[in-house]
């Protein structure tokens, strides 16, 4: 099953490689990993999307907690949560495709950030599956380039991750 782990970690050189090293050394999957400092610059927050049986994810959580620089770990998929990912996609937009592409971006609540006479660069946010759906909705030949951030997640309501 797919799990989203939120991790508070000391903002120190090497913390990221300890975490990614743990995943590779123990053969755990990483679907995506995002990290940036929090409002407290001494701490970073990481979102890791992984998959595995409940036992494996339990071990992942325990192993993460064991790393000295990891402050806290929660499995967001244990409760209600919000998940968002940002994608930038550059598409061919010339001739008759141009209007169609604009319309499609609107349907997905995308924003066109950059325009040339042959292309659009579209910004889209949403769950991973929404971004997938957008890519599926357009013809593969039209896509020039995509870049995705990987998912960030946060608990709903009063669920708060802090120290």
């Amino acid at each position: 099953m797919r799990h989203i782990l939120s991790i508070l970690v000391e903002n120190e050189a090497g913390a990221l490689s300890r975490i990614s090293g743990l995943f590779s050394a123990r053969g755990y999957n990483i679907e995506s990993l995002t990290v940036a400092p929090t409002e407290d610059p001494t701490m970073s927050r990481m979102t890791i999307v992984t998959s595995g049986s409940d036992d494996v994810v339990e071990q992942i959580t325990k192993q993460l907690n064991k790393l000295v620089e990891v402050v806290k770990v929660v499995d967001l998929t244990d409760g209600n949560h919000i998940e968002r990912e940002l994608m930038l996609v550059k598409v061919r937009a010339a001739g008759k495709d141009r209007d169609e592409m604009k319309r499609l971006a609107d349907i997905f609540r995308g924003r066109i950030l950059d325009v040339t006479d042959k292309s659009y660069t579209i910004e889209l946010t949403g769950t991973g599956s929404k971004l997938d759906a957008f890519l599926q909705a357009i013809e593969p030949g039209v896509i020039l380039e995509t870049v995705r951030t990987g998912a960030s997640g946060i608990g709903r309501g009063e669920r708060i991750l802090r120290i």
Partner: protein
């Protein structure tokens, strides 16, 4: 007052009460060596290879409640040390490793003797630090000692660039240190402890399985009190030997691949298994699928949550220091009128005694050749069971574990997790320095001993009167055994055609060497060797080449699918 980084480091070590540093100099640590030279509180032990420094520091930790410290230079110093660091890591041994690094401005430039020490050692340390600013040095050293010794212990490495050991800073050693990201749960959950006791009191076929956690946590007394109070059978893993007295009738021997028949049968057939500071290693439970087949409840006490339910699903997990949890359990039992049902327990013991009648450690006592088991038995007798015994890795290690009855913790010093050949001799040096009055012997094999043989020179320099018991079967016996059983007797490269003359070798290093070829000479040679209190004696026992270790659970087999000596 301003001190240099090197001075600060030495002050910190003094502050921590460090008696010995095991090390080897080089460019990146010269500042530190210069400061070591100028003082005499912290003594330096000069090894002959960095691997030796790490194993010696490790042996020092294992055999005492003190902490081993190693010091090596950058680049090759560090890479030579990695085996020793990984050895300590796999067995959760507390240790502080100081490494020199190229100057900060040279890092990343492929400088002379540069290596990414923090990167290379990351997977085999509890934690490591690169100190980039001399002002962080003292607090980092404090953190290193704190991390190494608390929670699940392990080696911690501090990498110090040469300009940092030279730079000046105000020195103040923090009395305590806290890390917001490091708060191991140390006190077992009261409700879970009660539940565990209840399960144990109601058990029909209880079994206590304990490991290195008992030794590491100095919990042997607590364990012994608990096990005797309940009258349960008890087994100790290879890492846990001495945690419960081996001469106690409730002790069933070691479990696992080369464990006793009775321990393995009891592990498999019990209805409540209490695991304490043991991690369900694959060499202990055999094939997990087979282990599951038997329905039983498992209680697991461990300081590391990730040890729990890692390989085997546990019913009652208890996270905490084993000593405190065991003491709590004793208290609960003592204050309760309930006791295990005597008749049921007696029936269970009846079954265990039945298994014991297999006499699985029997061997041929009438052989014209020296049997390695016999040597270990005599070693046990002659040292009154009271020596510190280190070992290398192989058949000799198993025989030492099976036939030397350890009644006390920290007496059996071996590399279980990584299984590092070359560990025995340097580890024994650390043991002897930590226990200057004690008798220290290293049970080794002719292949293993050659991996760190150079340390015989260190032993000479520091007058370490070790006794080396070389069970010389002219084979990498453990490898040969697997080849005999599983590879159709094809002994690929497990035989060395040119062994040194160990007697002459010992003499060349300034020690005493003795070669023993007949069973009748074993006892006398041992007695004479141990009578030489001031000398290192290398005893080269020419043993039966074909002897195998029994019982044996072949890799991938179930715990009770043992090969016994009689079956061959």
């Amino acid at each position: 007052m301003q001190l240099t980084g090197a001075e600060i480091l030495i002050r910190c070590l003094q502050e921590e009460g460090v008696e010995y540093v095991f090390g080897y100099p080089g460019g990146a640590v010269l500042n530190i060596y210069d400061e070591l030279f100028k003082q005499n509180k912290v003594k330096h032990v000069l090894v002959r290879h960095e691997q030796g420094a790490l194993h010696a520091a490790d042996g020092y930790s294992r055999s005492s409640q003190k902490i081993g410290v190693a010091l090596v230079t950058s680049g090759p110093g560090v890479t030579n040390a990695v085996t020793g660091i990984a050895t300590a890591y796999m067995d959760s041994i507390p240790m502080v490793v100081i490494t020199g690094q190229v100057p900060t401005n040279a890092i990343g430039q492929d400088a002379f003797q540069e290596c990414d020490t923090v990167g290379i050692t990351r997977p085999c340390v509890k934690h490591n630090f690169l100190v980039k600013d001399v002002r962080d040095l003292a607090v980092t050293v404090k953190k290193a000692f704190y991390l190494a010794t608390t929670g699940r212990p392990g080696p911690v490495l501090v990498d110090i660039p040469k300009d940092v050991s030279q730079a000046l800073a105000e020195y103040a050693y923090p009395k305590t240190v806290t890390l917001r990201s490091y708060n191991p749960v140390t006190k077992g959950h009261a409700g879970q402890i009660k539940k565990a006791v209840q399960l144990l009191l109601e058990a029909k076929r209880p079994m206590v399985y304990t490991g290195g956690g008992i030794v590491l946590n100095d919990a042997a007394e607590s364990l012994t009190r608990f096990v005797r109070l309940l009258g349960f059978p008890c087994t100790n893993t290879l890492m846990g030997l001495g945690g419960f007295p081996a001469t106690d009738p409730q002790f069933t021997g070691m479990p696992g691949m080369h464990g006793t028949y009775e321990s393995n049968m009891a592990m498999q057939n019990c209805d409540v298994l209490l695991a304490v500071g043991a991690r369900f290693d694959d060499r202990v439970i055999g094939n997990p699928e087979h282990f599951y087949r038997q329905d039983r409840k498992i209680i697991h006490i461990d300081i590391d949550p990730s040890s729990i339910s890692k390989r085997v699903k546990v019913d009652v997990p208890i996270v905490g220091y084993v000593r405190d949890v065991l003491d709590e359990m004793v208290k609960i039992v003592e204050s309760s009128p309930l006791r295990p049902d005597a008749a049921t327990l007696k029936a269970w013991w009846g079954q265990i005694k039945e298994w014991q009648r297999k006499d699985c450690l029997r061997y041929d006592r009438d052989s014209a050749l020296i049997k390695p088991q016999f040597v270990v038995e005599k070693l046990y007798e002659i040292t009154g069971g009271d020596a510190f015994i280190t070992s290398d890795v192989g058949q000799h290690q198993m025989w030492a574990a099976q036939y030397y009855k350890f009644d006390k913790p920290r007496r059996w010093i071996n590399s279980g997790g990584l299984g590092t050949m070359g560990f025995g001799l340097p580890a024994a040096m650390g043991v002897q320095l930590a226990n200057p009055q004690a008798t220290v012997a290293c049970v080794t094999g002719e292949a293993s001993i050659q991996m760190c043989i150079q340390e015989l020179s260190t032993c000479k320099q520091y007058h370490l009167p070790l006794k080396l018991v070389n069970l010389n079967n002219r084979y990498m016996g453990m490898v040969r055994q697997w080849q005999e059983f599983f590879y159709g007797n094809r002994y690929a490269e497990s035989y060395m055609d040119a062994l040194p003359d160990f007697v002459k070798l010992a003499e060349a290093y300034g020690h005493v060497g003795v070669k023993i070829e007949k069973p009748g000479d074993v006892e006398g040679a041992l007695r004479e060797a141990f009578a030489q209190k001031e000398r290192l004696v290398f005893l080269d026992f020419i043993t039966d080449q074909t002897e195998n270790v029994f019982p044996m659970v072949p890799g991938g087999k179930g715990l009770t699918e043992m090969i016994l000596a009689e079956e061959l």
